[in-house]
């Protein structure tokens, strides 16, 4: 277990400006009060902790090890040759985990804390299904039931993930579903509603409120989720043999990006290294909150059940066009990431699905790994940036997942 971090890193206490607190809207019940009823208690503590380093429970670390942490950090020599200008590229391969993505890093502790609270089941939302799959695995290992609301466009196009979630014992509903009032309302308004992460969150919370022994666990955006992911960056710092000039990750809500970059950014903010390192967050043009969003208080879910948080947002009722990179189809970015973007510490870029998948194909052919469509956005940015950088420059990016469960995306690319 010695190579797996012992703590998660909380960037809030190192930020150049304070994170604005969550806020209740002026109508209806207190959403902040509602958190008590829906979320595992330890997660709420972590959301408001003043500690810079939060200890990882031994039970969670043990599962991290069983599942394959630390994940490999590899040099992308094939991609480097393809770029051909002497820029070095490293990637952290989170796709090596059983779920095929970084999501297990937070699914394990969240399910563990729900179990410690006596929950019999956890409910959550999922876009592409990477989060839902991770929760299904964590729930199976820890011994409680998982209920997953999956955005309908993905539910229909990513049948394998649905099947594997069920293989692990999870119950999976397409969202909008007929199980909750938010789903029913959405179907009534638009029978062909493709679903959105925001809506799926509202459904999962509503489901939790309908029964006993249920807890809601979120896949991104909230600060404790980002904190759990910092095992990625802490490992990367100890694995990478040279200081990166650029660190890149894709952004849905911000958790894989934060997981890789925050330990680097924190050190930079504290003046403890990485002074010259740049950080680039890459999003989908289907949900361009980082490049086009407003920095304001908004709900993280479309139903407005959670407290408002200040973030870069396209509006909680934004329904992104269906996209293969379903994990990036989210209207907002985590508050800490939004603040870092506002402060100019993190740069941003948006790509279309086609631009990203083109890079995904290049990566597959040069490195032998089919990247997740989400991660392909980061790869596209790596290629574009590398071309502008001098020989010997070093880039690190997060290969947040593999794409072996995303055949629908690659079918389109390879269509004659």
């Amino acid at each position: 277990m010695s190579n797996v971090p012992t703590h998660w890193y909380n960037i809030a206490v190192d930020l150049p400006k304070p994170l604005p607190p969550p806020m209740d809207p002026y109508d209806g019940e207190s959403r902040i009060g509602l958190l008590n009823r829906i979320m595992p208690s330890e997660l709420l503590h972590q959301e408001f902790t003043s500690l810079m380093y939060v200890p990882i429970p031994d039970e969670v670390r043990e599962i991290y090890v069983r599942l394959g942490r630390p994940t490999p950090l590899r040099r992308a020599r094939g991609l480097e040759r393809l770029i051909g200008n002497g820029v070095k590229v490293y990637y952290k391969f989170e796709g090596a985990l059983p779920g095929g993505s970084h999501k297990l890093n937070t699914a394990v502790p969240q399910v563990y804390y729900a179990f410690k609270d006596g929950a019999k089941e956890v409910a959550t939302e999922t876009g592409a299904g990477q989060w839902g799959l991770a929760v299904s695995i964590a729930a199976a290992l820890i011994g409680i039931r998982a209920v997953v609301f999956m955005t309908k466009s993905s539910y229909l196009s990513k049948r394998q993930r649905v099947m594997f979630m069920r293989t692990y014992g999870a119950t999976v509903y397409p969202s909008p579903s007929e199980v909750t009032k938010y789903g029913v309302e959405a179907i009534k308004a638009n029978p062909n509603h493709p679903g959105s992460l925001g809506l799926a969150i509202s459904e999962a919370i509503d489901y939790v409120l309908q029964g006993e022994g249920r807890k809601y666990i979120p896949g991104s955006v909230l600060e404790f989720v980002l904190m759990h992911q910092t095992v990625i960056g802490q490992e990367a710092i100890s694995q990478i043999p040279e200081e990166p000039d650029l660190v890149v990750g894709c952004v849905g809500g911000g958790s894989n990006f934060a997981g890789l970059t925050y330990p680097f950014i924190g050190a930079k903010l504290r003046g403890e290294g990485f002074e010259g390192t740049r950080f680039l967050a890459v999003e989908s043009k289907a949900a361009p909150k980082l490049t086009q969003g407003r920095y304001e208080y908004d709900f993280p879910d479309s139903g407005g059940l959670l407290p408002m948080i200040r973030m870069l947002t396209l509006g909680h009722d934004y329904v992104p066009p269906p996209s293969h990179a379903a994990g990036l189809r989210y209207h907002g970015a985590a508050p800490s990431l939004s603040l870092l973007v506002k402060e100019g510490i993190v740069e941003t870029r948006a790509y279309t699905q086609e631009e990203a998948l083109e890079a995904g194909v290049l990566f597959a052919r040069s490195e032998g790994i089919i990247p997740a469509p989400e991660s392909s956005h980061a790869i596209r940015a790596v290629i574009d940036e590398a071309k502008k950088m001098p020989k010997g420059s070093v880039i690190l990016f997060n290969l947040s997942g593999h794409g072996l469960l995303d055949p629908d995306a690659y079918e389109r690319v390879n269509a004659p």
Binding site: N10, A12, V13, D14, L15, P16, K17, P18, L19, P20, P21, P22, M23, D24, Y26, S30, I32, G33, L35, N36, S41, E42, L44, H45, F48, T49, S50, L51, M52, E223, P307
Partner: protein, 244 residues
């Protein structure tokens, strides 16, 4: 002017539920000897407050500084009176707030939204408070960056107020003692006030033990305000937690 350690403070929204009742409460509070008194400037947008204090803002008879001016001199009622308002209401009139604070005998004006929503105004706030002969005070959350807390402490404020929860009056399962102990280690000698959802002497005791210098009660007192005797015995009961 300093606040005695350990201290119990009371928060009231000016002119809630009516000017007459507010004055009656203040009269009684004088005898209850709270160590400091926070007087909320009623606003239509109390964004970081919970349901009870939001209700008190909406239910105040007067709004804004007019409500505060219902009393000539708050130092008659408490050793250390403090005004508390949202800086978003006074972006272009900070000096007016400071003048009123000075006129009514307040020691400082605390703006809970200053460092979160208007960090660029911190310098101006310091200048305006000082030029009016007022002390400084700052509101922070458990997640406020350490460096900012240190720099606020270096300004020698009358106190730094740590909000224990996400909003006033709403308890969450947060290790508040751990947060207080961490922040205590960062604020150095600054007077550390903690508040939000304070409702028992045990809670007061454990927060003081964790490193707080003062504890403020607001929502739980305001909820009892219709029965003043009940409210005052509650305050006395809480005070029991200040000492071992």
């Amino acid at each position: 002017m300093g606040i005695s350690r350990p201290a119990l403070g009371l928060y009231l929204t000016a002119t809630y539920p009516s000017t007459r009742r507010f004055l009656e409460v203040l009269d009684k509070v004088r005898d209850a000897e709270v160590d400091f008194l926070e007087v909320g400037i009623p606003t239509r947008n109390p964004k970081y407050d919970g349901p009870v204090i939001r209700m008190a803002h909406r239910g105040a008879e007067l709004m804004g500084l007019d409500a505060v001016k219902a009393v000539d001199d708050y130092s008659k009622y408490s050793r250390v009176p403090v005004l508390m308002g949202y800086v978003s209401d006074y972006l272009n009139s900070l000096n007016d707030v400071a003048k009123v604070a000075k006129d009514v005998g307040a020691a400082t004006v605390l703006f809970p939204d200053l460092i979160f929503d208007y960090p660029e105004l911190i310098g101006k706030y310091v200048e305006v408070m000082r030029s009016n002969g007022l002390a400084l005070s700052f509101f922070i959350s458990s997640k406020t960056p350490y460096r900012l807390i240190r720099s606020l402490s270096e300004l020698k404020p009358l106190f730094i107020y740590l909000g224990l929860y996400a909003a006033t009056g709403i308890k969450l399962p947060i290790y508040i003692e751990q947060n207080v102990a961490t922040i205590r280690g960062i604020v150095g000698d600054s007077f550390l006030v903690v508040g939000f959802a304070i409702n028992s002497p045990d809670m007061v005791r454990s927060l003081i033990k964790a490193g707080a210098d003062g504890v403020v009660v607001g929502s739980a007192f305001i909820q009892r305000i219709s029965d003043l005797n009940d409210a005052l015995s509650f305050l006395k009961w809480l005070r029991g937690g200040l000492h071992e």
